[in-house]
């Protein structure tokens, strides 16, 4: 927890939304509070959409039902009595083939960290990752928990097309590409798991708060 509790910042985001920022140093407890808070706020009359972010929550509302002053005071007040989401997280296991043609950036990341390709894959698959937020593309989860030895700044030139299932690293974050798209993240492996399936009533596999575990299927050199 942070030493001195800071007041959250709530700012207008156009005439139909406000951005709530917890304004603390990012930690897991605050993120768990954000998710619990999002679940509460979503049920309010006049709230039309919520988008949880990292340490923040965008709240879209109907100003004819809920005035700006009212939503600001209510958010501030309810945040103070919102505790962390205490559900035990869902655990989602992701089998990965590391390296080779489907993980072209793994050798360079391993070399930079003074590791073998095998060690780098083991370090990537070791931690429990937390899904912080979904965004950037349908079903893409921003995963926290990457071992700092594997953290790598994004590519200067994004690849124009990265296929779904690419297991990627961007800065200190990890993820899995959910829809084929351009991406500046580094590709370390491939999984057959679908992260966004329109045939499914809940198309996104991940939800904020979930735990993701990568499992080594194979390491190719």
């Amino acid at each position: 927890m942070s030493d001195t509790p800071k007041l959250p910042r709530i700012t207008p985001f156009g005439e139909t939304a406000v951005l709530f920022e917890a304004a603390t140093s990012l930690d897991l407890d605050v993120q768990r509070r954000i998710w619990a808070f999002a679940e509460t706020v979503e049920t309010w009359r006049g709230v039309v959409e919520i988008v949880p972010g990292i340490d923040n929550l965008l709240v879209v509302y109907e100003p004819r039902e809920l005035a700006f002053d009212r939503i600001v005071s209510r958010l501030a007040e309810v945040w103070l009595r919102t505790g962390p989401l205490d559900r035990s997280p869902r655990v989602i296991e992701i089998p990965v083939i590391y390296g080779g043609a489907n993980g072209p950036d793994l050798p360079a990341i391993a070399t930079a960290a003074g590791l073998s390709v095998r060690e780098a894959a083991e370090i990537h698959a070791a931690p429990d990752y937390m899904v912080c937020a979904l965004g950037s593309q349908p079903g893409f989860g921003y995963l926290a928990g990457l071992d700092p030895r594997l953290a790598t700044p994004r590519r200067a030139e994004p690849r124009l097309n990265v296929g779904a299932g690419a297991v990627v690293i961007g800065g200190t974050q990890a993820g899995v590409i959910a829809r084929a798209s351009p991406s500046g993240w580094h590709i370390v492996g491939q999984t057959p798991v679908e992260f966004f399936d329109l045939a499914n009533p809940t198309p996104a596999l991940l939800a904020p708060g979930d735990t993701v575990r990568f499992r080594i299927e194979q390491v190719l050199s």
Binding site: P12, E15, T16, P52, G53, L58, P138, P203
Partner: protein, 339 residues
């Protein structure tokens, strides 16, 4: 009575897509809203053919665009002042007409405005994806298989509601700029489009010089602008100090300041989240006007209060309600055309 008509794309260019009013509400899954850039024009076109405002139509950004219709239907064209040619007849903008099977409909390059909209009675009946028929080009779903329209493609029409033989054969309605006295003037020639903006969280972090430049400059709309976002060219804006923000949800209309100092505005195909400092938000009632600014033209921002933004929203809703009343009379022949 219903028939299963279709339209065939005879000639098209890049970025012409099927759009309705989008799929908002799914940003928490990383799914953007997409939808017509000029939602007002699409809603009006739908009303002019007797559709619900959210029926799917075609957003035309690249001209000429030609289709052939294989059904007896009412159609309407709104948005950019495209030369709208039906058979061999050139029609004024914001016009509704009944056409026979086999009729060819053509949009020529607009004299002003950027995007034209075509509505057909019954709507374009491509499959709904997550509650909407809008094409999401980035995600690759919605509309015609998630892609821009191609020559030779056939699009199904929904079964039309009501009797096609009722109502005037053709009629026009006044374009929106005549209906909204609160609205700043539109660019109808070589002028600058003024859009209304509410300051956002990091507006106060601009240097004094940058703040003045933001509100007084004429920003040129870069030619690399598209449905995802508009890039603006003008003086480089600086902040008092560099700001690093954690990723948060964003909406179309947000004006962000990347490190280059050149602002950008997220549009209909906006990302669902971002972290650049945000200077302001173009008010909802002006997003359709932004949609009609041509590449290379200029934009100026004018600051409004929350109360003014809400009044503008009411004015836009009232204008659409007036179109609804007018068209329902014209479509039942209880009112006069060309009001």
């Amino acid at each position: 009575m219903s028939d299963s008509g279709s339209i065939e794309v005879v000639e098209t260019g890049l970025l012409n897509t099927v759009q309705d009013l989008g799929r908002p509400g799914l940003r928490k899954f990383g799914v953007g809203s997409a939808g017509a850039m000029d939602g007002f024009a699409l809603a009006a076109a739908n009303l002019m053919v007797g559709n619900p405002i959210g029926a799917a139509g075609i957003e035309v950004t690249t001209f000429p665009f030609r289709i052939r219709i294989n059904a007896r239907r009412r159609i309407a064209a709104t948005g950019a002042d495209a030369r709208f040619v039906v058979g061999d007849q050139m029609l004024p903008p914001w016009w509704s007409i009944r056409v026979e099977p086999g009729t060819e409909i053509r949009f020529e390059a607009p004299r002003h405005g950027m995007r034209g909209y075509l509505a057909v009675a019954g709507g374009i009946a491509v499959a709904e994806v997550l509650g909407s028929r809008s094409t999401d080009l980035k995600a690759g779903f919605g509309g015609a298989d998630g892609r821009m329209l191609e020559r030779g493609q056939s699009l199904p029409l929904g079964s039309r509601e009501g009797d096609c033989s009722a109502g005037w054969d053709c009629f026009g309605i006044a374009p929106p700029e005549k209906r909204m006295p609160l609205m700043p003037p539109l660019d109808v020639g070589d002028g600058t489009t003024v859009v209304r903006v509410l300051p956002a969280a990091e507006h106060g972090e601009l240097t004094d010089e940058a703040r003045t430049a933001f509100w007084t400059s004429e920003w040129q709309l870069s030619t690399s602008s598209n449905r995802v976002g508009y890039r603006l060219v003008g003086p480089a804006l600086r902040l008092h100090r560099p700001i690093e923000l954690l990723s948060h949800g964003i909406l179309p209309g947000v004006i962000q300041l990347p490190p280059s100092g050149q602002p950008m505005i997220q549009m209909s195909d906006a990302n669902t989240c971002g972290g650049y400092p945000k200077i302001g938000l173009v008010i909802g009632a002006d997003l359709w006007r932004l949609a009609q600014v041509r590449l290379g033209r200029r934009i100026r921002f004018v600051e409004v209060s929350l109360a003014q933004a809400l009044a503008a929203r009411d004015e836009l809703d009232a204008a659409l309600a007036a179109i609804r009343r007018t068209t329902s009379r014209l479509l039942t022949k209880t009112g006069w055309p060309a009001n």
